[in-house]
Symmetry: C2
Subunit: 319 residues, 2 copies
């Protein structure tokens, strides 16, 4: 634990290697992770969290790097987390980090990290939330979170952001389908990247058409659709300005933060509840027994869950 106290101090001082160590700890989901985040939490809450979501190949990383460069130019500290569902055996995440770090080589103001699922579902959004706290407490002004795909876990991660940017490319018919099929709701800003390609205006019109169908909950913010070329930097400044316009609007709203903290609390609470169950031998025996009865005598999972919950509450009553 003394090691964690020391690490906390180094993270608060913005030490890159300490940040790296801290993120590895939260990825491991060990008991140390809870101690570390508890210590850093009160020092976090200042960073702006920007989510950037889109299918593989749309140029998300290039766009994120271009945004990071602009923010760095103005002196802001930037953290980048690339959420990568790569399995541990591919090693792709590590290679990607090396390539990307070179783009910001020698700049201690940018920290880039890929985070991958490690077989444990649900763990990724948890670890990402903790990594944001670390980067925030380390003094990063902006934390960019890159996510691929349209799965539920990804949407959950995107929801932790203050601002969500959804990226696509011209003529990506299937991508538009995918957009329609999930991330449409979370987008605060839409970007058609690689806008030099044929059909960019058509894609912009398609997205605007879909947005028009949707009654956006926030009457003050109709999500804009921007064209960019991340490789040349074209219109990246306009995207940055748009992010800031939204930021200014959100400034006085504490609701989004409250909602985020509440879902974070429930997330940890559910996990602690499971740990509680798994730490009691008699409860684990009850779970094992219920599973066997589900197999042997058709006990249904709802009744089984009811039994286990009653037992957890009774067990604490008896202790």
């Amino acid at each position: 634990m003394e090691a964690v106290v020391k690490l906390t101090e180094r993270i608060l001082a913005g030490d890159q290697r300490a940040i790296a160590r801290g993120i590895s700890i939260v990825e491991s989901e060990s008991a140390e992770a809870a101690v570390l985040v508890s210590q850093l939490f009160s020092r976090a809450g200042k960073a702006r969290v920007i989510g950037v979501t889109g299918a593989p190949g749309v140029g998300k990383s290039t766009l994120v790097d271009a945004l990071a460069t602009e923010w760095r130019r103005e002196g802001f500290g930037v953290g980048i987390i690339a959420v990568d569902p790569t399995s541990p055996f591919s090693g792709g995440a590590i290679l990607g980090d090396r390539i990307r770090m070179q783009a910001h080589a020698g700049d201690a103001g940018v920290y880039v990290r890929s985070m991958a699922t490690r077989g444990h579902l649900g763990g990724l959004s948890h670890a990402t939330g903790d990594a944001i706290v670390i980067l925030d407490a380390a003094g990063k002004d902006v934390v960019l979170i890159e996510t691929v795909g349209v799965g539920q876990g990804e949407i959950e991660i995107a929801r932790t952001a203050d601002t969500s940017i959804v990226v696509t490319v011209p003529g990506a018919g299937d991508d538009i389908q995918a957009l329609k099929a999930g991330i449409m709701e979370i987008g605060d800003i839409f970007v058609v990247n690689k806008s030099d390609r044929d059909g960019a205006d058509r894609t912009v019109a398609d997205i605007e058409g879909m947005l028009a169908l949707k009654a956006h909950e926030d009457v003050d913010w109709h999500p804009p659709v921007l064209k960019t070329q991340a490789t040349t930097g074209d219109n990246v400044m306009e995207l940055l300005r748009t992010v800031r316009r939204l930021e200014a609007k959100q400034e006085d709203s504490v609701d989004r933060r409250r909602e985020r903290l509440r879902s974070r609390l429930y997330d940890i609470l559910r996990r602690r509840f499971r740990e509680h169950v798994e730490s009691r031998t008699e409860l684990m025996l009850a779970v094992d027994g219920a599973v066997e009865r589900m197999i042997d005598s058709g006990l249904d999972p709802y009744t089984a869950a009811e039994e286990i919950l009653a037992r957890v509450l009774k067990e604490s009553r008896d202790s």
Copy 2:
């Protein structure tokens, strides 16, 4: 509740409209859902659950329909669930169902249904699990689950299947990336569909190369990579034979089913725990209070979760 008993009987008799009503109930996640599934559970457990996962546009639906047609030809009852993260406003799911039902028009032995997220994250895999129980209890011999994308929620759904088929198309460089990036582990069988296109053999080799890198946990089953043309039916029979070969191997293994039931039980238990918390005014006040302290005085979510859990257990002790 009497209505549910009646519905249960009709579902057990295989009535299509009763199945439809039952799935709508589990989608709504009402109290009725738990009663319905409890009643049907002991009558389920016989159906073979096949997951088919792949990016939009690879021809998943056509492949699933081709497989369904083959199974039907042999007299098996087939259920198809297309898991579609479409938001409610698009209405795409309903339209898709109508088109697909026409392919099996007049055949009461096939039931097709799309299931969409309704804003509630995590709810989809829950509802899909319940829908499988309904189709299984209704006497379907095979339940095909179609999922898009590589998100965590999707992988979770794919894991509920006995057999997971991962579909891609020739030369889909980005798709291969996506494969690499998540669904590689869950694939028992890989399919390169639209195999008349250029580069099919190359794509097969790429996938085989990736599989070779991976030490598959099951030494008895090295995932095969098949080429198909779902539109012409080319090699669909070979795919069916491969599914059966795997089925024969798995027959004597109860471990996969046990794992699945255990995760199902935890899933429902976590939800019931949250419902328990939300049903007690004093616990809800404690959650609200914790969130405010997180905002105002930097209380961290781990400490907050610890407090709430202690309170839940104490509250049951005092009652």
